[in-house]
Each structure stands twice: as C-alpha cells, then as structure tokens.
Symmetry: C2
C-alpha cells in the first residue's frame, strides 16, 4: 500500500520533543503507545547511512514508563517476568520479557531498578500499565503503579559516546552496557543508560519533566554540530540487520519468550512468583517448535511487511516473515520471521510469499550483524 497520511489528534500524543522533530523535517510517523514515534527523516536508507557513521537524537518518548513504587514493588516486578530479578541491583537495566499466565508475551520492556522499592518499566507498544494495575489492585499489593512525567531521548550511533561525554562529562564513558548512572541537567538529576534500539552504540536519557525536553534537545544539537548530529529514529533496516525484535510486529501474545529467541533472558526456575511460570517451565525443558530467525530474501527490494508473509518449503508452510527491508550493506533483503524447527537450521533454503511474488530465501541462525560478511 502507498504511504497514507496520519491524522494527528490529542489521542496520538505529542512529545516534549515534537516541535524539534517537526522542525527537523520528519517525514513519517508511526503511533506507539498512543504517542507519535518518528520513522523517517530523509529516507529510510539515508537515515540508515547516517546512523551507522555519525550520531542521531531519537525522540523515543513513546517508550513510556510504568513506575512501581512501594514495599511490594520488587515482588510485583518479579511477578511480571521469567527473568530472575533477585540478583538485580540498583544501577542496572534488564531486558525483561513479560508474559501472561499462559507464557504469552505481553511486552518486552527494559526494566530499570532505581531502588529496592522503585522500578521503571520502559515499555514497548502495549498498555502494560493496565495489566500491572489490574494485578496490583486485585492482589492488594502495597505499591503505586503509574505513568510518570518521563520521556526517553536516545543518542545513538558510533559518535554517541563522544557527544554524551561533551554534555555530561567523561565519567559517562564508564557506564556499562545496560547499566545506568545519573547525570545532572540544569540542576535536575536524570537517569542515563547505555542502551537503545540500535546496534550502533549509544545511550538513552530518561528526561524527567516535560519542560526540559527542548533544552536537552537543543544542548545535544549544539554540542554535536561538528559531529554531524541529526534528528533520527529507530531505523527499519538497521534493526532488522541486528535482529532487534519489535513487539506487535515480530511477536505477539501468541508467542512465548522461547519462540522469540529470548530464552536466555528467562531463568524461569529461579523466577519464583512469576506469572506464567508453570507454562514456561514446560516450554523451557521441551524447547519451542518454532523460533525467531533472521532471513535473507533474494531478489529486488521487497515492500514493507504490513502483514505476515508465509514461508514455504516443499509445498508446506513452515513459518512467517514479520519484518523486512532491503539492506544496502548486506545487498539483500533482510528479514525477521518465525520458522518451524524442521527448517530453522542455518542456511536452510525456503520460499517466501511476498507481495512481489514468491522469492527464494535463506534462514540464518544468527542476526546478520553476527555473520561473517562476504
């Protein structure tokens, strides 16, 4: 389908950075957690090239926070995920698959432990707040659950560390991957994490207070002028190359974490109290019968994947493609899909039914970024 227009309303919330994003010439958005998320500035391919060699500011305010505060915050956090949080310390971020009572994915947020009795859950595109509020109310937990006035800004790209060091000092270079520290901006302490939805390196700054959005944005733009800093956004090509999953695209409530290749983030036996533990213990032992794979689709560039594309082999359906884009660097269409065990081995040849016809394709058992390039 041709790119249609988006009707913007209060319901598709603006962000503290929206005016800067518009001034930077944003071309398209998606709606994510009832909020605008930019998707294109120049072209998807130009944005990709720039991201891989420079530094970009991303308005990812749509990564809304669910804040848990109170004596039962830790207990509630552990109920949400099969990842073992008993070993988590303040200063750490954990990528946390979150599941329902059947082990089906409800979201795949990053959880930040701020203190023993305070967590932020930085959510992908579903109202996880509603699930958590329902549990906290019905179980009469001593915890407050709310969406705070916090708006993440990502600084991504190979020059991100240099830019962030200019703004917040050299100390930030020692922040570890998925660790965070606090930094001060105009007298306000804020969380700065080494994380982000790209494989180019970078940080996410949890901007507290709507009114600080533009001053923060302007500071990074000014300090990064000679680093060629630009407004950017999560890039479809780059995230598929790195097999960064998108909730709602590559996985839904129908999938377990194990199907999503997130088994390494599940310590289900240790995660005492996790909802869905009974269901997942079994899956963890037996393993899934289908799993996320990277897939290279031969031929000319395919259009964006707006619905599942069936994967066939030997006349039978063996999976579905959920995300796809042409990669200039890998000189093929890169894709993410769910493939049955019978055809998920590295190098397996399959066919994908794309809107541009049946295409030959190859299943890879690692992200493109972890393969040897020819």
């Amino acid at each position: 389908m041709a790119a249609p227009h988006l009707s913007v309303s209060r319901r598709t919330r603006m962000t503290p950075f929206s005016r800067r994003v518009e001034a930077a010439g944003v071309k398209a958005y998606t709606v994510y957690n009832h909020m605008l998320l930019p998707t294109v500035f120049q072209t998807v391919e130009d944005d990709y090239r720039h991201l891989k060699s420079n530094v970009q500011l991303w308005d990812v305010s749509c990564e809304r926070q669910v804040e848990l505060t109170g004596p039962d915050a830790g207990r509630l956090a552990q109920m949400l995920t099969p990842r073992d949080l008993s070993v988590m310390n303040p200063g750490q971020c954990y990528y946390t698959p979150m599941v329902d009572e059947t082990g089906g994915m409800l979201n795949d947020p990053v959880t930040l432990k701020l203190a023993e009795d305070r967590y932020w859950i930085s959510v992908a595109d579903s109202d996880l707040l509603f699930w958590i509020k329902g549990l906290a109310f019905a179980l009469r937990l001593e915890v407050d659950v709310d969406e705070p006035d916090v708006h993440p800004l990502a600084i991504q790209g190979p020059k991100a560390e240099d830019l962030v060091a200019r703004v917040f000092g050299e100390r930030i270079r020692s922040i570890r991957y998925f660790g965070y520290d606090t930094v001060e901006f105009e007298g306000k302490r804020m969380v700065l994490a080494r994380s982000g939805y790209s494989k180019q390196g970078g940080f996410e700054l949890y901007v507290e207070g709507w009114q600080r959005g533009e001053p923060v944005w302007d500071t990074f733009m000014r300090e990064g002028a000679d680093l060629n800093v630009r407004a950017g956004c999560p890039n479809l090509i780059e995230r598929i190359e790195g097999q960064l999953l998108s909730y709602g695209n590559d996985m839904t409530r129908n999938n377990t974490p194990h199907e999503c290749g997130l088994g390494r983030f599940c310590q289900t036996r240790e995660a005492i109290g996790c909802i869905g533990r009974d269901a997942l213990l079994r899956v963890a032992v037996e393993g899934p019968v289908r799993q996320i794979r990277s897939i290279a689709i031969d031929g000319d560039p395919v259009p964006p994947c707006t619905d599942l594309w069936p994967i066939f082999a030997g006349g039978r359906q063996v999976g579905t493609v959920s995300s796809a884009a042409y990669s200039p660097d890998y000189r093929t269409n890169v894709a993410i899909g769910m493939v049955r065990m019978t055809h998920w081995d590295n190098g397996t040849r399959v066919q994908v039914d794309t809107p541009h016809g049946i295409r030959a394709a190859t299943v890879w058992d690692k992200p493109f970024t972890q393969q040897d390039r020819n």
Copy 2:
C-alpha cells in the same frame, strides 16, 4: 502541524476490510487499538455532507472485542463498570464507562450481553484486555478472557436502515436503539446492533471470521448502489456536533465518568462489586468540579486539536479544549472541552488559546445537535 505520512507495519494491524478501504481511496488513517482506522476519504467536509444525507460503510474493526466467557463472566463485567448490569438482559448493548480503583476512566466501551455467561466488550482506544486479564488472573475467576476473531462494520447515515433491511430483511427495523439481534450471512449467524459512532442513525454488524469481511462489504456495496452508499469513517465534525466523546482525546485516566458527563450511565450504589465504587460514590454525591461541555469557537476555521488548548476567563484558566473542527452546518467552530463549574453554565463567554491565536468562545450545556438552531 501538516499531515505527516503514516508508516504502516504489521503492528498497526490491517483489517478484513483494508483492501476494500484502500480501493475506495482512503486518504488518511489514525491508529486505534494497534489497528488502522480510516479518517478521511474525500475530505472531512465532503465525507460529513455525504454521511448526513446518505449511507456509509465504516471499517471500525479497531473496536476490538474483549470476550468474557465462563461462570464468572457476569461478576467480572460488573467489576469493570459503575453501570448497573444486574438489570441487563441478553440482546442488550450498554454504553459502559470503565474505571480503575480511583474512578479514573480506562475506556468507554459498549458492552454486549450475549448470554448469562458470555459478554463482548467493544473497546475504545486502550488495551482494556490487559486490565481485565490482570483482574481475572489475580482474582482466580472462572472466566476466559480473550480477543475473538470479530470485526465490527458500521452502516451509518439516514439511509442505513433501508440498506440493512435490503441485506437482512425487514425484521431488522424492529431492533431498538442499543439493542441487537442476530442475522445470517452465508450460513453464519452474526450480531447486528442498532448503534454507532454518529448521530445519523445506523447499525454495527459484528462480522465473525476474518474471511467474511470482504463478502459482507461487497454485499452492502452492491445492495446500496442506488442509495449512494460509500466507504466512510467516523467523522470529526459530526461527532463533535453530537458531543460523541473520544477516549484519549476528550477524556483520559485523569477523568471520572462524572467529569465526562457520563453520570447518567453510573448507578454506582447499585453496581455492587464495581472497582472504584468507593471513590465514585463520593463523586456521585458531591458532583464534579469540571465537566465536559460543547463549545463554539468564534472566527475562521481552527486547525485540528493535537493538544489541549487552554480556556481562559478573566485572566484565569478555567478549562481545556480537546477536540475542534469547523462545522459547515452550524457555521462556527464546534469543540468539546472540560470546563470548571464556575464557567460551565449555558452561554458563558470565554476565550480559547488556539494555534491561530486567542478566540472568543461560548460554552453550551448541551451538544450542538440538541440546541435550537438559528
């Protein structure tokens, strides 16, 4: 802001009618419950004119259903809303404000009672499924909570009844407002309700089974050719004239049903078991201090309302406008806003701070459609 483009992906789900909607020349969408909802076909004003004198088919699949099935379905339904469901019978639809433990609005769905142990909740734009699943799990209720393969199609406009009677027979004329009956399409029984998000009259057909979407659509188009049937969508101007509220635009979790003017749908004392009852009993007695009002904004057409516009009187803020559009029929900008008690009386003059400058405005205590027209 200029209308940007929308990047469509699997996450912004297509519907069973999407191909027909695209063939009909849809110009813009919004995203609603992670699904495409058309917003414009010709222009908002042309669509408005056509809706008021003909009949339109609306793809409102984004009104996702939450299905409650099982012995505790009725008990759970009553927990969700301050509306008294003890007097509800199968065959009825109730407009049901749904609130959290503080009485804050979580959604304003239409609830259909299909049987004593089976309900559909036809939701506005929030993942109410997550709230309900959280409650059902934590309270160990004997109920299944899921999103079924059901996709509402609205038939709206003054000629809607004639069109629906041609397709399903004269019997449908006896369906009462917010009542439903079942009709048969190609051997499948489906729910047909006299309801819809317009004041022009009409029906909503709950199409069961994705594959039936296009045959149903094509049947209505064929039977309605001489009634000038067209593809349409909820119309911004028409819904503001009729003060049809939009969750996320005109109300959020910050508002009680009473603030939203929905007190007449709350029988909080009778709604034994309703979550938030304690909080709402107090509000029901004392009344809200601010409430939804229709507002006429003087002067040239204002742009769409993408964020709250402050309302001032005597130099103090007394409210906010949340939706606005120029109405050709009322020859003024029509709007919906939340106004403080001190200024909510009919005819109160105020000022609204629009993106086109400060405008004089008038507060009305009834929807435009219930006022005497000059």
